[in-house]
Point group: C2
């Protein structure tokens, strides 16, 4: 395994010098190659699908179709069309002693991506890493082993045709031993990004000796303030909860100011149509009794707060004021996306200032926390940590920098 990592590091040295135009041409060619090899890819994918019970909820994510391959090809072309972040001069100055000091953007080096049964992540990660001059070590789930191998088989000749080494994008064996080795490859791997379930992220955190960017888990709140606009609030809450329940920016807990309990039935009315199950604390439960389908209404217990549901479920908590809402979010939030619905500018300002999260919203749906929506062009994940990258991670977040110092004989005194 260590030989694969060394080869990736060697490849990363070559990649750092590849012109952006070459990488972009490669990505466009790879898009064409995916389309040209549709039958081959779908037949490899069929082997994976055959091994997974059709009732498995991951079955749909695992499936490749001609339309999905076309969409992956479109994504490749979109990444190719983005400006390269590399080489940008982040700062430059001449020191009093004449040294010219420049801070320039460079690749991270070798990026490891650990993901589950989603073959599209193979191509997506490869594209974002190559675009940013990084070699990638791809550790896909064993459920998608045949699909991933086929995708990399298609990518190989495209890399070689553009003068890149195969080690620029390496698919690791599907066994867990590969994950363990990757997480301990100190000095060979510059960062590992896990993309997937909380279980995967916890495993990575527990075992990594190399730097990690944690992604994903979002326990998301929206606070409806004393002065919240009812119609806007109802639309925002419905959108944040039901647009896509399986994504990390979806709403998990509504905090309602106690002075607005009378408006709670109208505020959550659109959720009934989507069969959203509510777990309400006592005051909210009383306010909703008779006004929400009883089979979808239950008392909240402790475990409903701080839970990422990823489902048609929503916790509701009554709070006395803004401070209580802030305390609840500080205690139960996962620092992902948090929102306030209010017409009180001072409250909005306090909320935006005080809440410690990657994205803090006033009067908008948390569904916007997404690299594409934020204008990053592409996204490799949503960081829930504060180091290096926070929130949606695009191309710049896959880079580092170095200091270049040009002199003519300067030495340091003292």
């Amino acid at each position: 395994m260590i030989d694969l990592f060394r080869a990736a590091q060697q490849a990363s040295r070559a990649l750092a010098a590849v012109p952006a135009a070459t990488t972009d041409a490669l990505l466009r060619d790879l898009a064409d190659a995916l389309i040209a090899h549709t039958d081959f890819l779908i037949s490899a994918n069929a082997q994976d699908l055959a091994r997974m019970p059709a009732a498995d909820p991951r079955h749909d994510r695992l499936r490749l179709t001609p339309a999905r391959l076309a969409s992956m090809a479109d994504d490749l072309r979109a990444v190719a069309a983005l400006p390269s972040p590399l080489g940008a001069k982040l700062s430059e100055k001449t020191l009093p002693n004449g040294l010219l000091l420049s801070k320039v953007r460079v690749p991270l080096g070798v990026v490891g991506i650990i993901y589950e049964a989603r073959p599209n992540v193979t191509i997506d990660s490869l594209a974002l890493c190559l675009k940013t001059g990084n070699a990638c070590l791809l550790k896909g789930g064993s459920d998608a082993a045949a699909s991933n191998a086929a995708l990399i088989e298609v990518a190989g000749p495209v890399l070689l045709r553009h003068g890149l080494p195969l080690a620029a994008a390496t698919l690791l064996p599907p066994e867990r031993a590969a994950t363990e080795a990757l997480l301990r490859a100190v000095g060979l791997v510059d960062v590992v990004i896990p993309r997937g379930s909380q279980g995967l992220i916890n495993y990575v955190r527990e075992n990594a000796r190399v730097p990690v960017i944690e992604t994903g888990a979002g326990v998301v709140h929206t606070y409806f303030d004393e002065t919240g606009h009812l119609a806007q609030g109802a639309a925002i809450i419905a959108n944040a909860k039901t647009r896509r329940v399986s994504v990390c920016n979806s709403l998990d807990c509504l905090l309602i100011n106690e002075s607005r309990l009378a408006d709670l039935p109208a505020l959550v009315a659109p959720l009934a149509a989507a069969q959203v199950q509510l777990f309400a604390d006592a005051p909210a439960l009383a306010a909703l009794a008779g006004a929400y389908p009883p089979e979808l209404l239950a008392p909240a217990t402790d475990e409903h707060f701080g839970t990422e549901f990823l489902d048609y479920k929503l916790a509701i908590k009554t709070v006395t004021d803004l401070d209580a809402a802030l305390d609840h979010i500080a205690r139960y939030g996962s620092r992902h996306s948090e929102a306030i619905i209010s017409e009180n500018q001072a409250h909005i300002d306090t909320f935006l200032q005080s809440v410690d999260a990657a994205a803090v919203y006033a009067n908008a749906s948390t569904a916007f926390t997404d690299g594409g929506q934020f204008g990053l062009g592409a996204e490799i994940g949503i960081s829930t940590q504060k180091l290096h990258a926070r929130g949606p991670m695009g191309l710049e977040e896959l880079t580092s920098y170095k200091w270049l110092v040009r002199g003519n004989g300067q030495v340091r005194g003292g």
Copy 2:
């Protein structure tokens, strides 16, 4: 222990809202307090010194004197005088749907610092963390326990006087159990920065479950190219090696182009006066025979390459060309500081582009890799990783950012 961490997290919420002027006044008051309590601090320090054998090389670092306290006070005033990095708008745009999206600089939150027997690091870390709105958890070495406790005792009333909670700067117990708990405080600690020996850094990497910024170790090379300027080269090499041998930017290995072996005696001549011991490969040894004090000259063995000496010792390796120098650095360097001495602009450009290190130099001494020299104003360490911060870490490197999204009812389609 977990209660201390929770209190720090609570304090970090308060700190994020403290005006910069308050923090700056606090730091100036703390400077005065250190001077006012000189006798108390020196007598606490005497207890620590009494427990450490005078022959211990750490004895000098542990010692506080009136002059050193005055210098610590000066450093505090200098940090107070720096502009605050907080609140800066890193980007702002209005999306087509009317959402106003701002990316603003915020504190990291809770920063853990693990260090050894240097009491000045206690005040230094406290100052840089408070200046950047971070609560700090300070884990000093047990050798400095009394000194650190006294320093924090002096700081406490100053914090309170300016309305900050004591938990804004917490000294952890000197036992190793505190380090272990700190490294595993997932969800409570945003980053841990180890400041000290390679052994400490390895221990932190092995045990941390929270994000870490690795600092310190520098295996530093300087390559003397075919066209290198002899007088400049001799001065640069002497400065990089002997200015301060105990710091991470000091030179460990001279790479010499084989075409310049005849100049090697003149190139290293200034090192003899400083009693620098040379470990030279066969061609370099032959070139130096009779031209360098024999008692300071020995053949290089494998272990001399890739070693951070932190001593009056230097490895010398002969290389056939620039590529061989680049390969040697890629294999043995620690990505800290690397230099070329050359009059060939193409070679300089290749070197600056190819070498993967925090600071890459042309015709200057690596002794400049330092936050003060790079104009960062202050420095909490030199990162040797590529994530978040690379090279000297100043105030901005102790911050994160968040996205603020201001709307008027926007929901996401599709």
